[in-house]
């Protein structure tokens, strides 16, 4: 079976769904970060596949910049996570509801 564009897009959609379910259902803040990373990389797969399909480099460039943005987001997010853990002693979202939202 030849692997075409639709297979890559299906994989990307499945990964994005997994990430979305993770964001919605997880209670641990660290797992939430992992889920956002899964979603970002699913979009990267879609960009690279469509870029290859069109013989156009723009999608791959966009995927590069998405990777850079994800790296900086994780750096700041993990710093905030460390501060939260030092303050509360837990990363559970139900324990962190100090605003009673």
């Amino acid at each position: 079976m030849m692997i075409g564009l639709s297979h890559y897009l299906i994989v990307s959609a499945i990964l994005f769904s997994i990430g979305l379910v993770g964001v919605l259902r997880r209670r641990n803040l660290l797992m939430l970060f992992f889920a956002t990373e899964v979603m970002l990389n699913a979009v990267n797969i879609a960009f690279a596949a469509i870029s290859h399909y069109y013989n156009d480099l723009t999608g791959q460039m966009f995927a590069f910049f998405i990777i850079a943005i994800a790296a900086s987001e994780v750096a700041v997010g993990l710093g905030i996570l460390i501060v939260l853990y030092k303050k509360h002693g837990s990363l559970d979202l139900d324990d962190l509801a100090t605003m009673r939202g």
């Binding site: 013989n55 460039m61 590069f64 943005i69 710093g79």
Partner: protein, 82 residues
């Protein structure tokens, strides 16, 4: 976005790939010519994120997360007695 490659056949390639040349070479040429300014902005963003991460993670590095404060004090007392 997922339906775009199915329905739109009239999309023109903005930066087309070249046959015979490696993909990495094409990517490098486009990245350092057309996308040079966003590349530099991304580098600056990564630098700012690194500094922010170090500042956030470096606060109170002398306080241990795993040991409680009592054990820390005992170690200090033992050191003082010696």
């Amino acid at each position: 976005m997922f339906a775009a490659p199915i329905f739109s056949e009239s999309v023109q390639a903005l930066y087309p790939m070249h046959e015979g040349v490696g993909n990495a070479q094409d990517v490098g040429i486009v990245l350092f010519t057309k996308y040079l300014v966003p590349f530099e902005v991304a580098a600056l963003m990564l630098l700012v994120a690194m500094i922010a991460g170090i500042i956030l993670a470096g606060k109170k590095m002398d306080v241990s997360l795993t040991e409680d404060m009592g054990a820390d004090d005992e170690i200090m007392i033992v050191k003082d007695e010696k």
